[in-house]
């Protein structure tokens, strides 16, 4: 399957040269021969993850190519769904369509045995032969034996990820059969002994210059390094002879429609129809996940696939094959299990069988854009690749790639079948950690954080002893280390601080400041109208408490200025997010239970109306991640308690927008000066998990009467990603640089967000780059303007 973009102004429309086509039938010597010579030593063995990642990070073209594509894809994708909804009504909106397809796919997964039987019966009645392969080896062997039996030594293929999954090409080539990829991108990848780096756009990581060189070497004649139209024309010429002489055509399937035993295949180039029509034998390779009940369901898939993949309204060719294309042909359908039964048996991972391989989850993924699909995935790439790889290729194959996920949750927002990708990736991460263990530093840190008292003592001691590396500032800067930085165990810390200054521990944590200033807080509360007659239990989160107490004070000031009574439970500690996101369920569980118990007690003792946090990450952990955790652990009691608690938990931004603003509370504020330019970073947890988009802007508009100067890609991850920014510093650094560049492009003097993790990361980056931008929490900006 190859889905391509629709024409747009930025795309250069290049007419293929007709003379190239006119020599089509003349042929150009033995391409097949060259292919088999070149693939005599095929490099289908994957390099280790570290090498793949290293290559990706060294490749200067890659982030440029992917960085160009991603923003235009996001915009065109939104437009294409908006147009449909506008023209045909809300039934055709993205949320409606995806919920429909999800239901259809869930039905197919649930009723798989019946649908398989129905599909087989109908396909066989139409003359097809259906073979069920339990493993990749069985699928490959079946196809090889078929070739062998019929004396076929040349096979043409249209794009099939299933054959990539089973590594069919290598299997056939080792046995003397030449397999020619006829999809342009797949073919170029094959010529260069590479795997596709993207499920839909196989060579998205390649420049035209690289493609020109590969095609020149392959054809033995000079092909332009600049003229894409000329490059494209090569494939028509080179493949025509293969099409007319191949003994077998192999294709994939986008859906297997059970009701009439029909195979649906979507392509753009036209090679798919040639592969399935011209050779005397046609083999379809498809996983069981491709089954779908009816043509009506298939139409929903048609409406979602191309629009999600490339923002094209529909692919050029949607082909429906029912039995052999002509009576003299053979059609074999190879149904592949290869781990899918195991997925289906897993209550969580069965959701991943809904996937229609659109790769939207790759297109939107910030780390994918930095490293491409060779590192961000194994054979299947993108978020779904991280989810399915353990089932098809083993957990070990996923150990490296899964560590690149920043848990930004963007993939879940665009998935056309509502697969809970981020939480499944965390499940994979947990399995990897259980097998391979945690890094020793993480082990110590998480253990410490799971012991609140010890953690408190540690942070206090550190805040006293950190002067040599902070010099009394709020930052741990690389240059502060001096000779100390040469020590082997200090070096990693220096490198961590070199591109993003790290925060110093506050000498007085928020919990202490709250005790000291209790009276002044309530005094501030007295001065405002008491129209908000409610009590808010403030859960600060460990970062605010220990690193940014001033952020917490700002939150309290604003809440009290709005007339709320604020209580700060002294027993609070870390919610456990960092451990859970690192796959450490043991410590995460301890922290979750502590937090729930603490919040329940605080709620009851103070008769609080809300539990509020100004860290959207902590809010998401409590209201979403805990539920999944307890569900998984079959902790019914804790699950119920969390559900009850979650109803009371709100984030600062949402509370301000939904409770304070409608309450007509006049916050006593002055307007910022005219030289203040504010831009806003949408934290991933805020926008992707809590759905906050316009809320912060509304607050700034209504309270401070200021308009946000929107930065490009305000909702793309800043690169913090919890511990990912420690493990994959190069990736985190690039994302941070992009974010700061985008913020700077607005001329902003203040960069605002509502999640302390992002703020820490952004501040550190601003500190290193010396940009004249203040980074602050929304609450801080509001509090600064309190009169």
């Amino acid at each position: 399957m190859t889905l391509q973009d629709q024409p747009s102004a930025q795309h250069q429309i290049a007419e293929e040269r007709t003379e190239a086509a006119q020599v089509a039938l003349v042929g150009t010597g033995s391409l097949q021969q060259r292919l088999s010579e070149e693939t005599a030593n095929p490099t289908h063995e994957q390099q280790p993850f570290e090498e793949r990642l290293h290559h990706a990070l060294e490749d200067e073209n890659l982030p440029r190519a992917l960085g160009r594509f991603a923003p235009s894809w996001r915009e065109s994708r939104q437009n294409v769904f908006a147009v449909e909804e506008n023209d045909y009504g809300s039934e055709y909106s993205f949320p409606s369509l995806r919920s429909r397809l999800r239901t259809a796919k869930d039905y197919a997964i649930e009723h798989q045995p019946e649908l398989v039987a129905q599909f087989k019966r109908q396909a066989e009645a139409a003359g097809a032969i259906v073979y069920e392969a339990r493993t990749a080896e069985e699928a490959n062997r079946y196809i090889y034996e078929l070739c062998h039996r019929k004396g076929i030594d040349l096979v043409v293929k249209s794009k099939t990820m299933a054959s990539e999954e089973t590594e069919l090409n290598a299997y056939l080539e080792e046995r003397g059969i030449t397999a020619v990829e006829t999809d342009l991108g797949e073919w170029v990848a094959q010529l260069n002994h590479e795997r596709p780096s993207h499920m839909v756009m196989p060579i998205i990581h390649k420049t035209r210059q690289q493609v020109g060189t590969i095609l020149t070497n392959a054809t033995g004649r000079e092909i332009s390094r600049e003229d894409v139209a000329e490059q494209v024309s090569v494939i028509r010429v080179e493949h025509r002879k293969s099409f007319l002489s191949a003994g077998m055509g192999i294709s994939g399937a986008n859906a297997l429609i059970a009701e009439n035993g029909t195979v649906m295949m979507m392509t753009n180039e036209g090679n798919g129809r040639l592969v399935t029509s011209l050779p005397p034998v046609h083999v379809v390779m498809a996983g069981y996940d491709k089954l779908i009940g009816t043509f009506a369901d298939a139409m929903t898939q048609v409406r979602l696939l191309a629009r999600s993949a490339t923002a094209q309204p529909i692919t050029s060719y949607n082909t429906f094959l029912t039995g052999p294309a002509t009576p003299d042909k053979e059609m074999h359908i190879v149904l592949i299990d290869n781990g899918r039964s195991e997925m289906r048996a897993d209550p969580r991972f069965k959701d991943a069988l809904r996937c229609i391989r659109c790769a939207a989850c790759a297109n939107i993924c910030p780390p994918y854009q930095q490293v491409g699909g060779h590192a961000f995935g194994y054979i299947y790439s993108g978020a779904i690749g991280l989810v399915v790889t353990p089932f098809h290729h083993g957990l070990e194959a996923d150990a490296g790639p899964q560590s690149l996920c920043v848990s930004c949750n963007a993939c879940e927002t665009v998935c056309p079948v509502e697969i809970p990708l981020p939480s499944l990736i965390l499940d994979v991460r947990r399995r990897v950690v259980e097998k391979k263990g945690l890094h020793w530093i993480k082990k110590i840190v998480f253990w410490l954080m799971a012991h609140p008292r010890l953690f408190g003592v540690f942070t206090r001691l550190t805040s006293m002893g950190q002067w040599p590396i902070t010099h009394g500032s709020q930052y741990i800067r690389a240059r502060n280390f001096g000779l100390l930085g040469k020590l082997p165990f200090v070096k990693p810390l220096v490198s961590l601080a070199s591109w993003r200054s790290l925060p110093a521990f506050a000498p007085t944590p928020l919990r202490d400041r709250v005790k000291k200033h209790e009276i002044s807080y309530s005094l501030k509360g007295e001065t405002s109208s008491r129209s908000l007659n409610l009590t808010v239990c403030y859960f600060a989160g460990c970062m605010t408490d220990r690193l940014y107490p001033e952020m917490g004070e700002a939150v309290i000031n604003i809440l009290e200025a709005a007339g709320a009574r604020v209580v700060f439970p002294q027993q609070q500690s870390c919610c456990g997010l960092i451990a859970l996101n690192s796959g450490d369920r043991r410590d995460g569980l301890t922290m979750a239970k502590q937090t729930i118990t603490m919040l329940e007690q605080a709620l009851e003792k103070n008769r609080a109306d809300y539990i509020l946090s100004a860290s959207t990450s902590c809010v998401v952990t409590i209201v979403q991640d805990y539920l999944k955790l307890f569900e998984d652990m079959h902790e019914e009691g804790w699950l119920k308690r969390t559900q009850a608690l979650a109803e009371k938990v709100v984030d600062f931004t949402g509370f301000m927008r939904r409770v304070v603003l409608p309450g007509n509370v006049a916050l006593p504020v002055r307007q910022p000066g005219s030289d203040t330019v504010i831009t806003y970073h949408d934290s991933c947890q805020s926008c992707n998990c809590l759905g906050l988009r316009s809320e912060a802007r509304d607050i700034l508009q209504q309270v401070l009467n200021v308009e946000v100067h929107e930065m490009p890609q305000s909702d793309v991850c800043c690169g913090f990603g919890g511990s990912t920014s420690i493990e994959h510093q190069a990736v985190a650094e690039r994302l941070l640089k992009n974010k700061l560049k985008n913020a700077e492009s607005t001329g902003a003097t203040i960069l605002v967000s509502d999640n302390p993790g992002c703020l820490m990361h952004l501040r550190g980056g601003v500190d290193v780059s010396g940009r004249p931008i203040q980074v602050m929490h929304l609450a801080q900006l509001l509090a600064e303007h309190l009169q």
Binding site: Q4, D5, Q6, P7, H11, Q12, I13, A14, E15, E16, T18, A21, A24, L25, F69, Y88, Q122, A125, A126, V188, M201, I203, K206, R208, V228, A229, V232, R236, R240, F243, L244, E259, N260, E269, G270, N271, R273, L274, T276, S277, L278, F295, A296, A298, V302, R303, T310, P313, I314, T315, S316, Y317, N318, T319, F320, L321, T322, G323, A325, T326
Partner: protein
Amino acid sequence: MMISQDLFARFQQRLTAAGGEYHLVEKLEDAADVIVTHSALEEQRLVVPPKFSERYPWGALLPLLEAKNIRIEEAQSSASVADAPAGLSHAELAVAETGSVLLAENSLEARVVSMLTLTHFVLVRADDLAAVLDTVGERLQQLTRVGPDQRHYISLVTGPSRTADIERTLTIGVQGPKALCVLFVKDWKAQP
């Protein structure tokens, strides 16, 4: 039958956005004029599916074309059709939602006309224009049902073949036709 202009406008907008050409004509004579004057007919050569002359109502078009010195060739083999400058066939259905035509030819020779010619002309009865893909789904269900009339190979085609595999640069005309020209005929019953 009522023909909604909106549907045709929508079809046209969708098809042309996908790089296709659109024509809505009154009679078969007008369709013949469009084909004859098209740049793809410079060589005055047109490939059609075998026995196209017997297909109602489209067969009647062939004498009109021949009268204008067009050489009609019935498709023999894939190799003979490959890269022929122009081919003509017909669609079962068209759909406005996506600007697509539904081709359902069982014979390979008929099918390659839409796969291997450089410009593909598709005839559609104007009353076969459906609004949404749901109608396509229903038709597919009927056409693929087991029985003597079962269609084994159906394609929903939207514009010419295309790729954007290299640097996302859109290129029209890869392995399939470089141009797709859809002709709706309103009064197809009026045989010349």
